[in-house]
Symmetry: D5
Subunit: 96 residues, 10 copies
């Protein structure tokens, strides 16, 4: 099932530089693992913002929440989830 996810990141100014670096490195690895597995279908940077629009393709709400709440940046994010489905005008049965 598909979910549209908006993630808006706000890093606190007093986060030590090395801790920030560690978190960002873990975030990147975490995201790329999920992209490789096909669960994190798309991730796009929003121009001019420290934010992204993503599309997830997971089993159910539970799996989505496990993934999102496991994000190394989860505590620094505002997250909005929107359930998506096939559009009646889509030319593909399975647009992911």
């Amino acid at each position: 099932m598909l979910y549209h996810v908006f993630m808006d990141v706000t890093l606190p100014r007093d986060l030590p530089a090395d801790e920030t670096a560690r978190i960002l490195a873990r975030e990147k690895a975490y995201s790329q693992d999920l992209q490789r597995s096909g669960k994190w279908r798309h991730i796009w940077r929003i121009a001019g913002q420290y934010a992204n629009y993503s599309v997830f393709d997971v089993q159910d709400h539970d799996e989505l929440h496990r993934i999102l709440s496991g994000l190394p940046l989860f505590d620094f994010m505002d997250i909005r989830v929107t359930p998506l489905l096939r559009h009646p005008s889509a030319i593909r049965e399975d647009d992911r």
Copy 2:
């Protein structure tokens, strides 16, 4: 270039049924042509709403606007455009 587009449709109640049908048929054909050409990369229905999230891959703002303002449903839509770019954590050079 990629654009994230939110389209929210409100059909006026006094639109005659056959005119509605005609517009929707034209909208579907219009959308499917653009999907086949690769310009309308994704279109997803938002659960519970007469609305969609779409991703366009076009030359520039001009082409995007020509496409959107040419939508048979354009007069009945609230549209929001967000420019997207490759996310630094994306595993693909070219995630469309």
Copy 3:
């Protein structure tokens, strides 16, 4: 899977009384069928408003959207969908 749904109804003033009555009767039957089948788990009126909070327990986004867009009142509703999951503090494995 569980979905929290907010439905806010606005009936247009010029809807003929008998058409309104017909739609409301169909809406009630439609809703009660789904309640009996267990898919429409809860429906509560919000005090002072022509609106309700509901909880649906369906297969996936598709089934939810089919149900919601099939509501006889769908054209007169503002609908907001929120995916729900088991809360880690819930005492029941399966709180529906």
Copy 4:
């Protein structure tokens, strides 16, 4: 009487880890006691958020407020209360 409650949690970053753990343990026990007593009828996690939708079944506003303001996490929550009642289309006399 039924109340729909939205609780949105924001833990301050400088809360010491052990204090956080203590508060969360107390919150869980507090919530589970009330669930067992039947006063906290439902609690659902909202996907992707540190927030929940709950339904309370209590005597009156007073009891609700005593319960909510007694939450160990109360100081870290944004809370919205909505009074609910039986929906005229509900198939159950008593949908809790």
Copy 5:
């Protein structure tokens, strides 16, 4: 139990003058009956607006909703309900 209620009235322009007069007369009688019974404790006009803040003292959510949805002006109102309780600093046990 006490409820704070905000009522904002918008009369459609095409409501015939005599129908408007009839509705307003019924609204006034309806309101005054409830004021006399003690259920509609307070009603204040908001300066410069066709709106009021009211306080109701009723048995439960059900009775409140029956009263509000029975208002002759109900279809032309935007209504917001807030449950109230005794304030810990109130000098009266029973501030209605």
Copy 6:
């Protein structure tokens, strides 16, 4: 003259416990004096929130502002003032 006042309290987390206690005790005394004098006609807690709806009956804007800005909690409050007047449907000449 009557004023409807919404007060929403946010105590900063780093306020020392004894200072908080002192402020709250002064706030309570201050409020009760004004209630006894008849100037602070009503104060109701909003269910589930550290907030209240109040009604003041004072000479003029000046007196209202002197009272509100003198609140020991003033620095920690978001305050909204709405001027009220007799409602044409009120059964009492003088509903305070």
Copy 7:
């Protein structure tokens, strides 16, 4: 006493031209009478909008409401009232 008032006008398109002209003429006369009497202290057009900021100097809320609800354009206005008082830094005792 002083009140800051924001008035935003929306004339319905189907108001006949002569009725519009009549209402506007009456509105102007009504406003100018009140300006001459000193009750409507200031009226300024907001650049680019069919709206104004005004300052009224009247006896009390009642008089303000009588004036505002008597505006020939009242039914076509969105009105917001804010009570004003002397600013502690004002050089005039009586800045109207």
Copy 8:
């Protein structure tokens, strides 16, 4: 030219008392100089808030911005500027 200005002040809690006193004294002197010169035409306190509505009569945007950004409290203010002009119903050619 006339400008309507809304200024909303939020003093940070950790500003030392004497620094606060110094800033407020300078703010008052600064404001009174401009009032005397006729550039700061009106300043009114908004009831119940640490905020004011003001009217400035200055040469142009530049002068307005120089004045506003020179306010000793500028860093602690949220400021909204609205250009004003003579209202067609004003009885004075020059309502300042």
Copy 9:
């Protein structure tokens, strides 16, 4: 002086096609005259919307308002005006 203006157009559906055409033709001529005179410095279409961002360079608020309220589309526009000035980092004395 420079003004940033946002114009959002909503044409009513029941405007006859030829009247629409006439208004749009007049709007275009009106705008182009002002562009030629240098008063309407910039006009840009916002991608995906029937809206524009413009920059005006006029004598004062009066002239701006005369121009805006004279727009053939004025009755069908939502307009927001923001006064602009030279930015301290601008490389040009006179960036219009």
Copy 10:
């Protein structure tokens, strides 16, 4: 391609004065380089605010994002991007 960019700056109070000065000097140089290159077409201060409206003329979203996220003040800004295109009523083929 043209982009309309709104930048709203909030400098944290505890930023040391010399660090602030260094950042602002770098910001100015950075902005002026881009203005000279023609990529940062316009920058205007918004009257009364620590904010600006700018227009960028760059290759694509990527270049815009590189420029914006490279701003020395980026971490202290709220940024909104709007894609612009030639307006059909523009007298210039190329209004930058």
